[in-house]
């Protein structure tokens, strides 16, 4: 019985509250905005090759977001979610892992998938839900996933991936694998009951999972001070008995470092780690949102000055690993490629009619087959009403 364990706390004979101020939370910062590093900073394991790979991923991220938001405005795409200003959190997280580690995301972490090597075509096919989409055109844009790349397909209901990540990591542990699971979520989603379940179970069952909270200040229109009253999400780690680390989310070196350290700890100690990356959602929540309804331009401007991509570029320039010409060329090439890919993907066929009933079960039931047959007969009768599938089966 463990109640006795607590007896090592001090005895008091007058009531004394503890509260949020009882715990101080340091924030890890390595890189300054001008590209120099803080004195005495402990850099992550990172060579030129990795640094350039990270930067190219960030650039791809920025360009894809820009172009897709524009495509949505042009009416070519139904929906998009950018991660403007907080790209370092997802890219840096992935860069701190090994490729065999599972990544379970919320939705604003396309950067991690880019780092893993998901192709531009794969991104496009998902967004245009065409027949080449790995997800078979069933989910809204940005719900990517790839079993080959160990990136779990996104699911819209918030927070559900958190206890799932605990289970996934527990399985990795029991099977003795050299793997961890990293689970991204927003500070808003951390209010869900599933957050509580996932973190507590990870502590109890000693699952090697890294909980990575992107605290970007908003959940749609709800600012984080209407989301919780504790000291961010990090302060909750204390309650679960989970090792916790707060990091500047716009500091790519700090994010990589934090993730590397977390991975090492999680694997060695078979225990969860909580990382809270402090950032800001510079853009709209999604293409359906307009943030001018709930926050000021001034607030946004303050954070624009913390651009994580520019910060990394400054560092690369200082290292002499990169120059302005390369930079310009990179962004230009990326823009061209993305535009070309949009054109191809939007013209690609929609998924075959049979995908209506596949993957509901491992094999379609008799009832489902009969339902599909009757849809087919109906489509054949009214082909003009079902242009995506008519004449294509």
């Amino acid at each position: 019985m463990s109640s006795e364990l607590y007896d090592d706390g001090p005895m008091v004979h007058k009531p004394m509250f503890i509260d949020g101020t009882s715990v101080e939370i340091p924030e890890l910062k390595i890189l300054k905005q001008d590209g120099s590093t803080y004195e005495g900073a402990e850099l992550p394991e990172m060579n030129e090759g990795l640094a350039i790979k990270i930067y190219k991923t960030l650039a791809f991220h920025r360009v894809l977001d820009e172009r897709m938001v524009a495509s949505q405005r042009q009416g070519r795409l139904s929906f998009y979610m950018a991660a403007l200003g907080e790209e370092a959190a997802s890219v840096g997280g992935a860069a701190g892992l090994k490729s065999q580690d599972m990544i379970m995301s919320q939705y604003r972490e396309q950067g991690a998938l880019m780092f893993r090597g998901f192709s531009l075509e794969n991104f496009m096919n998902q967004m245009f839900s065409n027949e080449k989409d790995l997800g078979k055109g069933r989910q809204m844009p940005i719900h990517y996933g790839s079993s080959e790349l160990n990136y779990m397909t996104i699911s819209s209901p918030l927070g559900t991936q958190i206890p799932q990540a605990t289970g996934y990591a527990y399985g990795q542990k029991v099977q003795g694998l050299d793997e961890v699971t990293l689970c991204y979520f927003g500070e808003g989603a951390a209010s869900e009951g599933d957050f509580h379940a996932g973190l507590n179970m990870a502590a109890v069952h000693q699952a090697p999972v890294i909980f990575f909270c992107r605290n970007n200040g908003y959940a749609i229109s709800t600012p984080s001070d209407e989301q919780f009253k504790g000291n961010g999400i990090a302060s909750r780690g204390v309650g679960y008995g989970i090792k916790t680390l707060r990091v500047d989310g716009n500091d790519i070196l700090a994010v990589v470092k934090a993730t590397q350290i977390a991975r090492e700890y999680a694997l060695k100690e078979s225990a969860p780690v909580l990382i809270e990356a402090m950032s800001y959602r510079l853009g709209a929540h999604s293409t359906s949102d307009d943030p001018s309804g709930y926050r000021t331009r001034e607030e946004e401007a303050k954070w624009q000055a913390n651009d994580p991509i520019l910060r990394m570029k400054n560092w690369l320039l200082a290292q002499n690993w990169w120059d302005e010409d390369q930079d310009k060329a990179l962004f230009e090439k990326l823009r061209e490629k993305v535009l070309a890919a949009v054109k191809t993907s939007e013209k690609t066929n929609k998924p075959h009619i049979d995908t209506l009933i596949t993957d509901v079960y491992d094999v379609p039931s008799t009832q489902l087959k009969a339902q599909l047959d009757s849809v087919k007969a109906h489509v054949n009768k009214y082909p003009e009403a079902y242009p995506f599938t008519a004449g294509k089966f």
């Binding site: 209901p157 869900e192 229109s221």
Partner: protein
């Protein structure tokens, strides 16, 4: 009378409810300052203050738990679940708590003042997590009422009735109609009855029954059938729980045929309950099997949404099937 879309009608009903009773509160994710992601609660925080119209943290089980407590306390909570697809984390608080609150306490306590609003249904390219029609999941729960409007006029009158009803009510709002459905709506207060279906068009050959956004589609199919000389009686069920067996049975006794259309998947949907009850009530009057035109037994798709849903053409075919049985 004013021309309103469904969102305006809902906003107007909420405004009336909040102005008449200072214990009425509206809350949910992004419901406060922003007025909700669909803007149904727009302007209410400005008018009634932050204490009565506010954002909650992002936790559906908490929103309904909190609302249950408020209702038990004597306040009149109107809780919004941002999308009906996200109501499931609150399933326990709705099905095990709200629905059983009065019964389990022998009427010592109740949450009759609770109303839950939620945008629901498909047709907006939302895929499997922004298109669900979960009414049947709740319909198996004695103690709940479930109401679904088909247009702005219905929305205002039924929502006011739901807010004032002394039982927990789930009010599902067909989000495809939010801006698409326009109509004349009285500016003053009025209520429409819960538990009563409405005969929207009388006819003699077959009864067509649906609710919410399917009503439009039903009407379109009825018009097609009219060209073939088939006379359809078109009924809006309006309340899923309790539902108006009498009106439906009377119609079927007259027409001898019934077709029910729903957006949700076929199996164990609410159309099944209707078919089960009506085959019993009208056994000797039925001239053909009751037709259910529903979504396929799959999650709601994205690219192939058109193929999946119950549309006017599928209903029209089913009408002919029933007539020619």
């Amino acid at each position: 009378m004013a021309r309103m879309n469904m969102l305006q009608a809902i906003n107007n009903a909420l405004d009336i409810a909040m102005s008449e009773d200072e214990n009425t509160l509206c809350f949910g994710e992004d419901v406060g300052h922003f007025g909700g992601v669909f803007r149904a609660t727009s302007g209410l925080q400005d008018k009634y203050g932050k204490a009565r119209c506010f954002n909650t943290p992002l936790v559906e089980q908490g929103i309904i738990g909190f609302a249950n407590g408020l209702a038990a306390q004597g306040s009149r909570p109107i809780a919004e679940i941002q999308f009906a697809d996200y109501i499931f984390p609150a399933f326990d608080q709705i099905v095990n708590e709200a629905a059983k609150f009065r019964y389990r306490s022998g009427n010592e306590f109740d949450v009759g003042k609770l109303t839950i609003r939620s945008p629901y249904g498909g047709g907006i390219a939302g895929g499997l997590y922004h298109s669900q029609s979960p009414e049947a999941y709740f319909a198996h729960t004695p103690g709940l009422k479930i109401v679904i409007p088909r247009n702005p006029y219905q929305a205002k009158g039924l929502l006011l009735a739901s807010i004032r009803d002394d039982n927990p009510v789930i009010f599902f709002e067909p989000k495809r109609l939010y801006r698409a459905s326009l109509g004349e709506v009285p500016e003053e207060d009025y209520q429409l009855p819960i538990g009563k279906a409405e005969v929207v068009q009388t006819g003699s050959d077959i009864t067509l029954l649906a609710w919410g956004a399917q009503m439009e589609i039903l009407q379109k199919a009825a018009d097609l059938a009219a060209n073939d000389g088939i006379s359809c009686e078109v009924i809006d069920l309006r309340s899923i729980l309790p539902w108006d067996v009498e009106t439906i049975a009377n119609s079927v006794i007259k027409t001898g045929r019934l077709l029910v259309s729903q957006e949700a998947p076929l199996t164990a949907g609410f159309a099944s309950e209707i078919a089960a009850t009506i085959q019993q009530e009208c056994f000797l009057h039925l001239e053909s099997p009751i037709e259910r035109v529903c979504g396929l037994d799959t999650p709601y798709p994205l690219a192939l949404e058109k193929e999946y849903v119950s549309d006017h053409l599928k209903i029209y075919e089913a009408i002919k099937r029933s007539i020619n049985y």
